[in-house]
């Protein structure tokens, strides 16, 4: 009896490493499918539409609100130090370095990642993937690779849009409602946000997050147990794992980039 918890731990450990291994093999297969895609840009465009364009609305709205909240909170805090003029810097740095990539990554996992997993999982459950194989069409190339690539490409664009909209959201609240000087808002921002340190690093973060979330989403879909319960579990796993991975990676990347 005393072995039970240990056994369970061991078993879940084994299954964890098994999944990790499968995930990596799967990633290699997906990457191997990418070159063939270059000949068929239509497939990618179609997927960028469902992964990127359909996520755009939630990104725009969230970006605007996050920017506005930053403007409000930042103003109240900075006003204590008499440093309202630095509002632009505070909003821009928070967005570009952290919130842009991270919140976009989380929203992307919730909106696009879960949809990818569910779609691929259902294709598996309804034998569509198997059917493609029997039609001598490799689902890795035809189904998985374009979705992965679309997710990977869309994410940095979405994060950039999020940050840009957020900066205007902060501008709207700070300058429009709270009376921060418009010139100070922009000039302080420009003086203190560095293209290399802040913008590039933010973009790199969003590329890494896009890679991770797209990978998790297509893998969970492909690895799903082909039943309705299995697909729903896989979808949940995509959102949970993506969120954890995004936040964990964010810490690692931040430490690497800004931790000198």
């Amino acid at each position: 009896m005393i072995l039970d918890p240990l056994q369970r731990l061991g078993r879940s450990g084994i299954s964890f490493f098994g999944r990790l291994g499968r995930g990596n093999v799967f990633l290699l297969q997906t990457l191997a499918g990418l070159p063939a895609l270059l000949l068929r840009p239509g497939l990618i465009v179609r997927q960028i539409y469902s992964v990127g364009v359909l996520t755009l609305l939630i990104i725009l709205v969230s970006g605007l609100f996050v920017g506005m909240v930053l403007g409000l909170q930042g103003y109240n805090t900075l006003a204590d130090f008499g440093a309202e003029e630095s509002l632009g810097v505070a909003v821009a740095l928070a967005l570009v370095r952290e919130l842009g990539p991270v919140v976009t990554g989380l929203l992307f996992a919730g909106r696009a990642g879960s949809a990818l997993t569910a779609e691929i999982g259902l294709m598996k459950a309804t034998e569509q993937l198997s059917g493609m194989e029997m039609m001598a069409v490799d689902p890795m190339k035809r189904v998985i690779a374009p979705r992965f690539l679309a997710g990977f490409l869309s994410m940095p664009l979405l994060a950039a849009i999020f940050s840009a909209v957020g900066v205007y959201g902060g501008f709207f609240v700070g300058v429009g409602l709270l009376g921060v000087d418009e010139g100070a808002y922009w000039s302080q921002m420009q003086a203190n946000v560095d293209l290399q340190d802040d913008i590039y690093n933010g973009v790199i973060k969003s590329i890494v997050f896009g890679f991770a979330v797209a990978w998790i989403a297509v893998f969970e879909g492909y690895d799903a147990v082909p039943t309705s319960e299995g697909v729903s579990r896989a979808t949940t796993r995509t959102v949970v794992h993506s969120a954890l991975v995004v936040l964990g990676l964010d810490f690692v990347l931040t430490a690497l980039m800004f931790g000198d």
């Binding site: 239509g42 465009v45 179609r46 960028i48 539409y49 990127g52 364009v53 755009l56 130090f81 440093a83 630095s86 821009a92 570009v96 869309s154 940095p156 664009l157 979405l158 950039a160 849009i161 940050s163 840009a164 909209v165 900066v167 922009w186 921002m189 420009q190 003086a191 203190n192 946000v193 560095d194 293209l195 802040d198 913008i199 973009v203």
Partner: protein
Amino acid sequence: MKQSKAVEIGVGLFVAAGMAALFMLAMKVSNLSTGNIGESYTIIAAFDNIGGLKVRSPVTVSGVRVGRVDSISYDFETFEAVVGLRIGTAYDKFPEDTTASIFTAGLLGEQYVALDPGGSDDNLEPGDRIQLTQSALVLEQMIGQFLYNTAASEGE
């Protein structure tokens, strides 16, 4: 086929919006437009202590940004920090006895180099060394000094 047209247009707009956002971040939010000072020359200043000065920190004169810190190194001959200042060629008429000081922008802001022109007739040439410098104020030193002074005055 009509549907795929709409998809293509949607994706086109999306990519364009993403690019525009990146461009906006680069041009309007970051220091790309201000940090780029075009043609420049370098002069050198040595400080006892540069505090939190970093490469790319601004160099200003009377609050006008004229360049940025290009390099920071340590000289074992003089035991001083040697800072290279890249100044735009538009600002090439600084007198020889210009003072370079390290200040902090606001209470919590970053540190920058402020130049204060002197009265000499000769101008600094590229590669010249600024003779008169004022180090950064280090908070701990100030506090230490303050405590020391207080203790000294109480002891009297």
